[in-house]
Amino acid sequence: MEFKVPTMAELMAMGEEPEILFWVGCAGSYDERAQKITRDICKILHHVGIKYAVLGTEESCTGDPAKRAGNEFLFQMQAMTNIEVLNGYNIKKIVTGCPHCFNTIKNEYPGLGGTYEVIHHTQLIQDLINEGKLKAEGGESFKGKKITFHDPCYLGRGNGVYEAPRKALEVLDAQLVEMKRCKSNGLCCGAGGAQMFKEPEKGAKDINIERIEEALETQPEVIAAGCPFCMTMLSDGVKLKDKDQEIKVLDIAEITARANGL
């Protein structure tokens, strides 16, 4: 990184408060592919001059996979510990790089004493585009490229966010194509509900293969994602179909960072 990523602890030591907390999430912290997305989100925040910070080692899993696997105890332990940290730092606004963290903090934390304004990074990008702070200029041109967006369930159906990620793609002047199943009718990547952490039940095929086949029907050059789990499932699918040379799977944050030359 060309700049230092500020942590809450550091800001607090300086007696400062950030405008927004960037909740990185476990995938964003540890998964090699997702780390790239994390860095690009920071580049965007840094570029537009938003005062932000991350929790760093003070962050812990939101508890989403535990809750969805049925372990409410573990979920609430995680949630309450995280809420204590967040409230301790007087956090008001949070941006996440993962729809699962987004959904959990936004919807499930308030009932346990943690109420924040929570947005997904595609919503932040949408706002920045609307404010004219991000322009899709000065970097890689996506003009005329065929791009299809895969709706993450926990962003789309789970919380009704369909427009924000599409807005980020519209400014690219690219050729946007929708898959047969998109928006509220979108098809899961196969990783949600704690499926990410287990082998799928036996069946005719894996869900990410079904999804990739549908994506391939649109003959895309780029498959756009907005979730680190979707990223893993879609990338695996593209590799299995031997298309990883021609088709890139990129997160909306990565596309935005590239288009702006960050």
Binding site: L74, Q78, M196
Partner: protein, 431 residues
């Protein structure tokens, strides 16, 4: 006079038997745990207007939407005709509303078109189910009773509409003959074409008219009493089911209050939890589910829109959200019968989980909410799946091995993977 007495007795028996069975259904639903869905009455009312009355979620699939709309409007509007039949039956009158004149003609005429529409829609539905064999109507759970149930409903509706039209046709013929009390009333744009099929003697016409009249009304009472045994219950339950549907974001799962108390006590030893009755975590059987889940089960009309969009089901896995709802209803019916026979405390040693729904089914769910989005009347199979998982994980500690490993990692490392919390910021040092 005898006819009136018979009519009144049939009506009382029909309505009485229905209320007896409906009360049982409501008692069964009340086996469920409490859930508060009385907030935001205005929003709830609007949801019911839109989704149940307005049929908005049906419109996603245009062909069944149009066919269903005809049957739905037919059902709602032809009830005016049933009202007339009721009054005629009780007071021994004939076409009591005929005094409305031109408006009556308009009403009867439009009922005839609707009756024809319903007849045709049901015929097309039968063809879709039995000849075209649409994938949505098959599946492991759609054998035997569920399969014949659908056909019985459609055939009954066709018979009822046929009786209505034949009744009108013979009535019109009798009107032309100026026979007895058959006053000249009504317009018969559809049944006019059936007149040729009917005998010409007044006696046989009166016979046909009466048989159809009695068949029609007895059929309606029979159908009413068929509802509690059938998926067709949705014509009544769709309304409360949408009113009490989940208004929160689909991604939001409930925070179990019983767990909150325990977790607070663990994190803060000075916290004294409110005294709560001991209970299970999650659901093993229907009485562990909420009354909303159980009402959902009675409301399900087995259309299969949930299953056809389920990513697990479409890739050949065992999970079918429709089966989750049907299993829940079947088990609840069984529990209800046990209560009738052996009293409220009887245990039959069976449970929803394992005896009806297998572990393989619940673990195949990605919680993507495609099923809840697709349901035309806001049924939530995912809520049941999550409660079954909660039982498996919190009461039994039985989950797929890799899920246990993930849970262990979250507990020990604060991440679902086995990485050190100290490495959480490593990404900021690279790239």
């Amino acid at each position: 006079m005898v006819a009136q007495i018979i009519f009144i007795l049939i009506t009382l028996a029909g309505v009485g038997l229905f209320s007896f069975n409906a009360r049982k259904v409501i008692r069964n639903i009340k086996i469920g745990r409490p859930a508060n869905r009385n907030d935001q009455p205005a929003k709830r009312f609007m949801t019911m207007l839109k989704v149940a009355f307005g049929q908005t979620k049906m419109a996603v699939r245009p062909i069944p939407f149009l066919l269903h709309l005809v049957v739905y409007l037919g059902f709602v509007i032809i009830n005016l005709e049933v009202l007339e039949i009721m009054i005629d039956g009780i007071f021994g009158t004939h076409r009591v509303f005929a005094g409305l004149g031109g408006f009556y003609d308009f009403l009867i005429g439009s009922f005839e078109f609707l009756a024809l529409g319903v007849w045709l829609a049901c015929a097309i539905f039968l063809i879709r189910r039995n000849v075209l064999k649409l994938k949505r109507f098959s599946g492991v759970e759609m054998k035997s009773w569920p399969k014949s149930d659908a056909n019985y409903i459609l055939i009954t509706e066709i018979l009822l509409m046929s009786a209505f039209l034949l009744m009108n046709a013979s009535d019109a013929k009798l009107q032309a003959l100026k026979e007895g009390h058959y006053i000249s009333a009504g317009a018969f744009p559809v049944s006019a074409y059936l007149q040729g099929l009917l005998p010409s003697s007044a006696a046989s016409l009166i016979m046909t008219e009466r048989v159809c009249w009695w068949f029609h009304i007895i059929g309606i009472f029979a159908f009413l009493n068929y509802l509690p045994y059938s998926k067709h219950f949705h014509i009544l339950f769709a309304f409360p089911n949408t009113y009490f549907s989940n208004l929160e974001p689909k991604g939001e799962f409930t925070n179990m209050a019983s767990v909150t108390n325990e977790v607070k006590a663990m994190l803060d030893p000075s916290f004294v939890p409110a005294e709560t009755a001991p209970g299970k975590f999650g659901a093993k059987d229907v009485n562990d589910l909420s009354w909303i889940n159980l009402m959902n089960a009675y409301t399900c009309t087995e259309c299969g829109r949930c299953t056809s969009v389920c990513p697990a089901n479409m890739t050949g896995k065992l999970l079918s959200p429709r089966k989750i709802m049907m299993d829940t209803r079947d088990r609840l019916e069984e529990v209800g019968k046990n209560i009738d026979k052996h009293g409220a405390d009887h245990q039959d040693g069976k449970s929803l989980l394992d005896d009806y729904i297998t572990r393989e089914e619940i673990w195949a769910c990605t919680s993507c909410n495609a099923c809840t989005e697709a349901c035309p009347i806001n049924i939530d199979p995912l809520a049941i799946i999550v409660d079954l998982r909660r039982y498996a994980v919190m009461e039994e500690s039985v989950a797929p091995g890799s899920i246990n490993a993930m849970l262990g990692n979250v507990e020990n490392n604060g991440a679902p993977w086995k990485y050190s919390p100290a490495d959480r910021l490593n990404w900021a040092e690279q790239g």
